[in-house]
């Protein structure tokens, strides 16, 4: 019975859309995977020695902060890890026993990326501990216990996945705990530290997470088994719809019509909501650069890099996928009374509005001085004048249909990662850095900023010409795009 399942899984894996890219991209992806693996391995090995250098006992420090590690893990899972529900439907009427189906789909989640990725950190860290002369059995038991806890998180995620607002609750908990610790009001790590310490020192302590895991497994098992009906656990949740007219946008004519639609698109779909959430995170990315927290980032050249990212969060995360957001009804768009230019124009405005709002929200960077905020504003001008066009241009080649109801793949679709869009990333980031460097080299950083902003203004001035070119490319790619969007992943 299980072999049949494995056969199905293998087919769905090898025939998934992301596998259907060409060989060159596969090789490139392979290199990227290798690179990140090495980075994580280095991190696992390095943690020990870095902590040692900081005159901290590595194991004790790691034990202290594990509670945050697991909480963050749960948050990431709630945000991104989807539970395998849809594949179960076709199996229900076939001669499989229900327990088999549930055991299999639960077992499958164990092999999920979200579990395996922790191995890259913990395995090398454990290896280093053993190498450094820590008690072998203790280390092994400790490592096993941590993995058991990771699997606990895995099943917790399945149990909690259908509850609303839990994500917010967990994030609030982390923020409050972190805040209390920072201001030395209350230190959670002192409370939970003995537990992780016990996992290392007490031989039988790993039984605790094991028992918890077994308990959670049976809970999840019963929960899923009782829900194995189309109208229960396997139903797709339907939202209560509310008609919104957003009449204040009517004054903008056709542009308003599209903006209305885009606002609804962002508000009502999981995938777009996650994306916009991610773009808010970009706002804080600059803190790494400007607070001087990371030494390697604290160079003027890097600052303009941050300037582009802080105001361009929306542009990079949402704009990158224009026109794929409309992929599920692209045929409608192509037959309606819409000239391409109007369509592109509305997307451009959406990106501009997004960039504008980001820039205003980023005004808290004024705390670091005028110079810093000016960098961000210059970045914003460049984003509006140049990058917004580049993003639209890249969109003509991004032919990945987006399934709006899915959260998966919010960190970039593999397939949309094609050579053309990659080439377009270079002027998005490297050109402003180069301009800034040039200005600083000739005179001072202020001239550098002026150069970056000037490039943006120039881009804005030639908007009409640029738009005509983009429009032509979109028209040329139209049939290919329609064809690609028809093939649902």
């Amino acid at each position: 019975m299980f072999t049949k399942f494995i056969y199905l899984e293998w087919k769905s894996f090898t025939r998934s859309a992301s596998f259907a890219t060409n060989v060159a991209l596969k090789i490139l992806m392979g290199f990227l995977v290798l690179y990140f693996t090495l980075v994580f391995l280095a991190l696992g090995v390095g943690t020990f020695y870095i902590l040692k250098e900081m005159k901290l006992e590595p194991l004790v420090t790691v034990n202290k902060f594990l509670v945050y590690y697991f909480l963050m893990d749960l948050i990431v899972r709630l945000l991104l890890q989807a539970i395998p529900v849809m594949n179960i439907r076709p199996l229900l009427t076939l001669p499989f026993k229900k327990p088999t189906i549930v055991h299999f789909s639960l077992g499958k989640t164990i092999l999920s990326f979200f579990n395996l990725v922790h191995g890259f950190f913990f395995l090398p860290f454990c290896a280093v501990l053993i190498y450094e002369g820590y008690d072998v059995i203790s280390v092994l038991l400790w490592g096993t216990a941590l993995f058991l806890l990771i699997f606990c998180n895995n099943f917790l995620n399945i149990l909690l996945n259908n509850k609303d607002n839990l994500l917010g609750v967990f994030i609030t908990i982390v923020v409050i705990l972190g805040g209390c610790q920072y201001y030395k009001i209350f230190d959670i790590t002192n409370c939970v530290y003995p537990f992780f310490e016990a996992l290392f020192n007490t031989r039988w302590a790993f039984m605790i997470p094991l028992l918890v895991l077994i308990g959670l497994y049976y809970w999840t098992y019963n929960y899923l088994k009782g829900d194995l009906y189309l109208d229960a656990g396997l139903s797709v949740k339907k939202d209560i719809a509310k008609t919104e007219n957003l009449t204040w946008l009517n004054q903008f004519g056709t542009l308003g019509t599209f903006l209305k639609n885009d606002i609804k698109l962002i508000k009502r779909n999981k995938r777009s909501k996650t994306t916009v959430g991610m773009s808010v995170m970009f706002l804080f990315y600059g803190l790494l650069f400007f607070s001087g927290g990371v030494e390697a980032y604290d160079k003027p050249i890097m600052h303009i890099f941050a300037g582009i990212f802080v105001s361009g969060g929306f542009l990079f995360t949402f704009g990158q996928f224009v026109p794929s957001w409309d992929s599920s009804y692209y045929q409608l768009m192509m037959t309606q009374n819409i000239p391409y230019r109007g369509y592109l124009n509305s997307k451009w405005w959406l990106i501009v509005i997004g960039t504008f709002i980001s820039t205003i929200l980023a005004s808290f960077y004024l705390y670091f001085g005028w110079q810093v905020y000016l960098t961000i504003v210059a970045g914003a001008v460049y984003n509006i004048g140049v990058n917004s066009h580049l993003v639209l241009l890249g969109g003509a080649f991004t032919k990945t249909p987006i399934d709006l109801s899915m959260t998966k793949g919010a960190f970039g679709d593999k397939k949309s990662f094609n050579v053309n869009t990659m080439l377009l990333t270079l002027p998005k980031l490297l050109l402003p850095v180069f301009l800034y460097w040039l200005g600083s080299y000739i005179m001072d950083p202020k001239l550098g900023l002026a150069f970056v902003a000037l490039a943006g203004v120039l881009g804005f001035m030639f908007r009409n010409t640029v738009f005509s070119i983009i429009e032509k490319i979109y028209k040329k790619e139209k049939y290919k795009t329609i064809e690609a969007y028809k093939q649902k992943s």
Partner: protein
């Protein structure tokens, strides 16, 4: 109104559609019948410039569809669910189409009232997004949306499929009304010979991409078609 010259479509050497010439005069209601793979949807997709012809061209009101976009203002179509925007409510979808076709909210509302019976109380004010409606109800929305903004050409692919018997009869009534209007050209495709014969003035049958029958609707048409498709 619609003129087809030497139109063909090939996919890697296989010809899926080949129509030497076909003319659909203004005001006609035109029925396209054929088995699966006969080329009905391909033909409609070519009419709407959704795919590129291998040879030949389509003129819609003297406008060549793959070189100019000027046919869009007077042409409305519904081929499948990919013409619906899943995250909108039916009302929002109608107003969106209305906005694109230069109709204000009141115009759209007036039109919707006329088709209240067709909706059968399952579409409007139901607190559901289009993606959560049943296939049949989605189809109702798509069909009525094509009527917004007084189009001169209306193209419907398989409008009778997935609808319940009562709705099919109501739809036939709507299409007949459109057919009676001399300024509206209706193009309908279907597997169902009887429905098509009932609503169309002219029937064209496709088989493996070739035009095999072209006749005005008379009393004998249905019989003749049934004979043709008989096994």
């Amino acid at each position: 109104m619609i003129q087809v010259n030497n139109l063909s479509k090939e996919y890697s050497g296989t010809t899926v559609l080949n129509i030497e010439s076909l003319e659909i005069p203004k005001g006609q209601s035109f029925g396209l019948v054929g088995n699966n793979g006969a080329g009905k949807t391909t033909f409609f997709s070519l009419l709407l410039d959704l795919i590129q012809p291998t040879t030949g061209c389509v003129l819609n009101n003297e406008i060549q569809v793959n070189t100019s976009e000027d046919w869009k203002p007077f042409t409305a179509s519904f081929l499948d669910e990919s013409f619906l925007i899943g995250y909108l409510t039916p009302e929002e979808y109608f107003y969106f189409i209305g906005d694109l076709r230069g109709q204000n909210k009141a115009d759209v509302d007036a039109l919707l009232i006329r088709y209240e019976e067709f909706f059968n109380g399952e579409i409007l004010k139901n607190k559901k997004y289009l993606r959560d409606l049943s296939k049949g109800n989605q189809k109702k929305v798509g069909i009525i949306a094509t009527l917004i903004g007084n189009p001169e050409v209306i193209i419907l692919d398989e409008p009778f499929a997935n609808l319940d018997p009562t709705t099919v009869n109501r739809l036939k009534k709507i299409i007949k009304e459109l057919a009676d209007n001399p300024s509206i050209t209706v193009l309908v495709s279907s597997h169902d010979l009887q429905h098509t014969v009932e609503v169309c003035d002219r029937i064209v049958a496709l088989n493996k991409g070739e035009l095999v029958k072209d006749m005005p609707t008379t009393k004998e048409t249905l019989q003749e078609l049934e004979l043709f498709f008989a096994v």
